[in-house]
């Protein structure tokens, strides 16, 4: 989805707006933000074959829409039924279009002679504002079939705006430092083709000191507003005819360039926006300014709805905000994939595509410092998570402010995905680099992840990988990070402080152990699928560790290889370990500790499947003298023959398996999700996208139907009295409350053998006349009272004994483990200081001391 490349256009009733989205046009409801209809969906059915740059309602019929595209065509649509009515061939890419109802058969176009290829390059550059176009030519195109359809009016270096005044008198075009005003209504001269560029009476060109970036025409008066690079807004009056020097006034608030300007339809207000992410509303008669700050991202386009009720803003981050004009509150917010519109040099896709296990959404870098949760099937934004909370501030100097970066994200693989770990940081090359590991817990109430623990500078250098252990049953979650500083660290969940009054102790993450191997640098790590073995790739060597006992279990080396391993992964339910260096792919069998097979491949990415033992790699081969070949290969661990090969045109930016329950059941290859070179998601294999989409839609339909049903249950009676449903709800709420309270009560009384506990005995709840005689109850009751304390004590004693035994066993086991190499070492340190606990209470960390003492006693026994 590319939502905000070009300005949106409202329908005449202001209920919907059109958004140019690459080759298609989406009609989106203002009320719900949902896509209602898609025009130009496929080229075969007559859609545009290149990016749509401009849409405009037919001045004659407001139920029809003109669209202009870089493929050199203008198309007329009936947008209610999504029918293509006519196609006009212009032949050259169109970048701008203007029309007026007084000349319904003429359309003024800005076309560019440059090749589209070059244009693409420009487009992906993060330039902000309108795309710079070389050598724009303004032409008039006649929609009526006549002998001479195209009339060339003038050419300019690059066009940044094209408008016709509301009375149809003037056509204004801006290009770089020039403002061209053309008096188009002056007579029939143009009609006859007698007008040339040099006709002084019709063509006026005014020079400005700064480059013009935005243009708007006043709806009622003869006044043009232009915004320039330096942030100034200039109002031009009394132009045209025989005026050499028009009267201008200027307004200055913006610190950076004005990205777009728009007048409200009554002409009382002017809206402007730019890089500051602030919408400025100028009251023209008084000069009073009103601000709408912190809109989240730079403003690129502003559109005012015909009834003045809404302002729509296209933002730099691929989102459209529709705000109500009355209270300036956000009405609808539509967001696309944000990563495609960020600066990829400072904010690379370092997280890759990570599948969130809870809903199967894709998680990836969003704006700098955030993560975006995205549904690739429905092409829908789900959630944005601010990993590095900040107030977005626009730069004060020429230099951009260095943004924070999210480097890694991983989810615990339990079904609920309770934990998420992120690595983020910021390095401005001037001050000490910041590096954080953050542990997030899913909050069921707010349906988002909430920060649990933040660790400041967990490693002294950049973190190369960050993984969760695969948990089975009740295993505690564990996180391993590897870093360029030569160490890997194991993090685990600990309880801080003691449980009190039925409230559970605070949970927080802390470092459990630190390991290193010689003085090499780890670049990747992997957990075996039962979580009992940890593999860390140190250079070309794979080291195998027991994560619980912190012992080195073995070392695997591939002798001819001396390039470092970049990717390392275990496969689900198989004893194979896959390692990839820059030009080889190895499959290790851990049962024999030997290489099972290997391949000479330039591996870009390596992703294992979550449900079976397949894995996918992307690689690019460069055959002699031909274009590089980009392939996606799916392997089974046993077999060097790929079970599936896909060839793609351009390098995939990221790749992952899509979770698909039915594929897992059939033991088929899961569909592969790739982010292609143009930052769009593609699904390869498995069931078709349409099928998945249909399925998703079905589910949505079902939900909607249920909602409707609930709605329809409301009768007239209940509307008037609000009785039945409200009462039901109240009863349910009361019940829930009661249950909750009971739970709390039991939780509160669990820890102590107190009189409260016994008072709450059901015996005392019932009235005495319905109970059995006291004499028959007495024995049981007293027995219950008297044995309680004793049994509890005995139980704890027994537990202690069992624990002691266990400990001894462990110690013996450890003592028996053979020493492999003398160079390896594990430090276990408390890391008290660097661990930050969010809202945690103090308390001693008892887990680490006990493990310490265990190991110490092991050493003593040796």
């Amino acid at each position: 989805m590319r939502l905000s490349d070009y300005p949106v256009v409202f329908t005449s009733d202001s209920n919907y707006f059109f958004s140019c989205n690459a080759k298609t046009i989406r009609i989106i409801s203002v009320e719900t933000g949902q896509v209602v209809r898609i025009l130009s969906a496929s080229v075969e059915e007559g859609g545009h074959s290149n990016t749509v740059t401009c849409v405009m309602l037919n001045p004659k019929n407001s139920l029809q829409l003109y669209s202009a595209s870089l493929d050199g065509t203008i198309k007329l649509w009936d947008f209610n039924d999504a029918i293509l009515l006519r196609t006009f061939e212009v032949g050259t890419p169109i970048t701008n279009m203007a029309m007026h109802e007084s000349f319904p058969n003429d359309v003024y176009l800005v076309i560019t002679k440059k090749s589209t290829k070059r244009f693409h390059k420009k487009q992906y550059k993060k330039s902000g504002g309108l795309v710079a176009k070389e050598n724009s030519i303004l032409v008039r195109y006649s929609l009526k079939s006549s002998r001479k359809r195209i009339v060339r009016l003038l050419s300019s270096r690059s066009c940044s705006g094209l408008v016709i005044s509301s009375d149809g008198e003037y056509l204004v075009m801006t290009g770089r430092y020039k403002l061209h005003v053309i008096h188009i209504a002056a007579g029939d001269g143009i009609e006859q083709g007698g007008v040339t560029e040099h006709d002084e009476s019709r063509f006026r060109t005014y020079l400005t000191p700064d480059r013009i970036t935005a243009l708007a025409f006043h709806p009622t008066e003869g006044c043009i507003a232009t915004g320039d690079e330096r942030g100034r807004i200039t109002m031009w009056y009394c132009f045209g005819k025989n005026v050499d020097r028009p009267v201008t006034t200027s307004m200055h608030w913006h610190a950076h360039k004005v990205a777009d300007l728009a007048f409200t339809s009554d002409g009382n207000y002017l809206l402007s926006g730019g890089e500051e992410s602030v919408l400025v509303i100028w009251q023209l008669s008084t000069g009073h300014k009103q601000f709408l700050p912190r809109l989240g991202s730079e403003i690129k386009h502003i559109t005012v709805s015909p009834d003045d009720a809404f302002y729509a803003m296209g933002h730099q981050d691929n989102s459209v905000n529709v705000i109500r004009a009355v209270d300036l509150k956000i009405k609808t917010n539509i967001q696309g994939l944000k990563f495609s519109h960020t600066d990829h040099v400072t904010n690379p896709l370092s997280t890759g595509l990570v599948i969130e296990p809870r809903n199967g959404h894709v998680v990836l870098n969003g704006l700098p410092g955030t993560l975006q949760f995205y549904d690739p099937i429905k092409d829908q934004h789900i959630m944005e998570l601010e990993v590095f909370p900040r107030n977005k501030v626009s730069r004060t100097h020429e230099k951009e402010i260095v943004p924070p970066r999210v480097m890694h994200v991983a989810f615990s693989n339990d079904k609920a995905a309770r934990w998420m770990v992120t690595v983020d940081g910021r390095d401005d090359k001037e001050t000490t680099p910041e590096l954080y590991i953050k542990f997030w817990e899913y909050d069921d109430d707010s349906h988002t992840y909430v920060l649990n623990t933040r660790v400041d500078s967990p490693h002294t250098k950049e973190i190369t990988s960050c993984i969760f252990n695969p948990r089975q049953g009740n295993q505690a979650p564990m996180v391993v990070t590897t870093s360029l500083d030569g160490t890997f660290k194991v993090w685990e969940l600990t309880h801080q402080g003691e449980a009190r009054r039925g409230i559970e102790a605070e949970k927080a993450w802390s470092c459990r152990s630190t390991g290193f191997y010689r003085d090499m640098v780890p670049r990747a790590a992997g957990f075996a699928s039962d979580g009992s073995l940890l593999a860390v790739a140190y250079g070309q060597i794979i080291t195998l560790w027991n994560p619980y006992l912190n012992t080195l279990q073995g070392v695997l080396t591939q002798p001819p290889e001396n390039r470092p391993i970049h990717h390392l992964t275990f496969l689900k339910n198989s004893p194979f370990l896959i390692a990839a260096t820059s030009d080889h792919l190895y499959s290790w069998n851990l049962l024999t500790c030997s290489v099972w097979w290997s391949y000479q491949l330039k591996v870009d990415r390596l992703v294992p499947s979550q449900t079976n033992s397949n894995f996918v790699v992307t690689c690019s081969d460069r055959a002699q003298g031909s274009a590089p070949l980009h392939r996606i290969l799916v392997f089974k661990p046993m077999d060097p023959k790929p079970i599936r090969i896909e060839t793609i045109e351009k390098r995939a930016r990221a790749i992952t398996f899509m979770p698909d329950a039915s594929a897992a059941a059939r033991d088929a290859v899961e569909p592969i999700l790739i982010m292609n070179h143009g930052f769009a998601f593609e699904v390869l294999g498995g069931r078709s996208v349409e099928e998945l989409k249909a399925e998703a839609e079905q589910a949505a339909e079902k939900a909607r139907a249920m909602a409707l049903e609930a709605e329809s249950k409301k009768s007239l009676m209940s509307d008037i009295f609000g009785k039945a449903t409200a009462a039901d709800a109240a009863a349910a709420a009361a019940k829930e409350k009661k249950e909750k309270k009971q739970q709390q009560d039991t939780a509160a009384s669990r820890g102590m053998v107190s009189k409260k506990h016994m008072v709450r005995n059901p015996l005392f709840d019932a009235p005495s006349h319905v109970m059995a005689p006291v004499s028959s109850l007495f024995e049981a009751f007293m027995g219950q009272l008297l044995t309680q304390g004793k049994s509890a004590k005995e139980e704890s004693k027994a537990r202690k004994k069992a624990l002691k035994q266990q400990k001894q066993e462990q110690v013996q086991q450890q003592a028996g483990a053979p020493g492999n190499t003398a160079e390896t070492a594990i430090d276990i340190d408390m890391e008290d200081d660097v661990v930050e606990i969010v809202g945690a209470k103090e308390g001693e960390d008892d887990a680490i001391p006990s493990s310490l003492s265990k190991i110490f006693s092991a050493r003593l026994s040796l």
Binding site: N391, T460, V759, D833, K841, R859
Partner: protein
Amino acid sequence: MSSDFKSLTVKKYPRLPGRKTAESRYWRKFKSPIVVKEFAAVSSIHFSETSPYDFAVTASTRVQIYSSKTHQVKKTISRFKDVAYSGTIRNDGRLVVAGDATGLIQIFDVGSRAILRTFRDHRHPVHVAKFSSDKTQILSASDDKTVRIWDMPSETPLTIFTGHEDYIRAGMVSHDNPHLILSGSYDQTVKLWDMRTQGCVMTMNHGAPVECVDMFPDGGVVVSAGGPHLKVFDLLAGGRPMHSLSNHQKTVTSMCFDHSYSRLLTGSLDHHVKVYNVQDYSVVHSVKYPAPVMSVALSPDDTHLVAGMAGGLLSIRQRVVKSAEVQTRRAQEEQAQGGSYKYFVRGQKTAGEGDFIVESQKKRRLREYDRYLKVFQYGNALDACLRTNQPAVTTVSLIQELIHRDGLRQALSGRDDISLEPLAQFLVRNINNPRYTALLVDVTTVMIDMYTAVMGQSPLIDELFMRLRAKVKQEIAFQKQLFSVIGSMEMLFAKSTSTSVGVAFHNELSSTSNTSSSLAPKPSTESPAATIE
């Protein structure tokens, strides 16, 4: 407004273990003890249950009413012929009862100090004289081994309980049932008496002469103190002992509960007052006093902790409460008042079902530095943070935020010696804190960069820069020392583990690891610091 201004998030660091618990932080708020010298040992302290919570202190031959507001003596009742005991204020705050060593029990009017009633039947010293929860009766217990319930208007004993075999030094009337009376005696037993049966209904063995008894308000659990022990009995289970505690070294002389009956305080001759959590009867805090504690009391609003000591010292500790706490308490009190207009219209304003509640949004108050940050006045924000005596971590967080906004240079620029001084002071104070070192070294570098040119113009700043340099130098020397220690210890560990699994440990170094982690940026400070010279 599309999204709210995010105010500065102050970093949080884990509290290091071994520090104060929340409980002890609470009890430490009872600060600034006022010590008053009485004539003799303070045998009893009792708080009035009505505001303003004055308290009666019994020492020697007089009972004094102290004001909790001023901590001064408000009234002195000294019409005793011998040593007075057990001065108690009735729960409406109007009457005081006290026994004395001659066996006399007297009731006084607090206002006029007049003797209103006298009860003379006891022949031995009366150590216990209290009001019953039934307002017209009083309880007394004496060394003549009897417990008596008196009818106040007629000055006649209603009931005489005999059964103890030694002096009775402790007693009370159950809060929820005025018919039940608890007494503790030197015969090492605690007895529960019932006025309806006119006899003892339960006897619990304490195992030492009982000095003090108390009961939870619902009458289910009894706590008794005697000798160095504290015992908890369950009345509903027939006086079964639930807990036996001996946290004191010497005899426990007095006990009291806090307002919510969730904490128990005991005073003992071993100079300590200990606080127990009644959930598990663990000691959560203890306070030391200069002399053996004879009596201890906590005010009903949990603001005053008063202890009387054997030497005649009376210590009054006050906890300053937040206004919010006072307000909730006041709201609670107001609710309890029946008969008022408020009482009758109570609950009528709450929203019913189907009512649409318009929620009023409270305006968030920003701190001063946040206000400056919001309007991009970085220098002022930093000044505001340093000026208002914020904790160091707030300032550090602010500096971090300024770096994120690329505004550190802007915040530091254009200062004269007066306005630079607070920042320089801050750096001198905190640069060696391992948590902040990395960041503050950056700030120092920037500051030195900017202000080297004007060095030597202000003696104030020159001196601060010299101090900063000395501090950095000292820290570097310290780090060097630590490293040599780490090195030698690592050698020892390597030696000891070279034969085994190959695993080295240095948990002893964990305490130093924090500081060592901050070593890396150190050399960079040294060089700019050197330029100062």
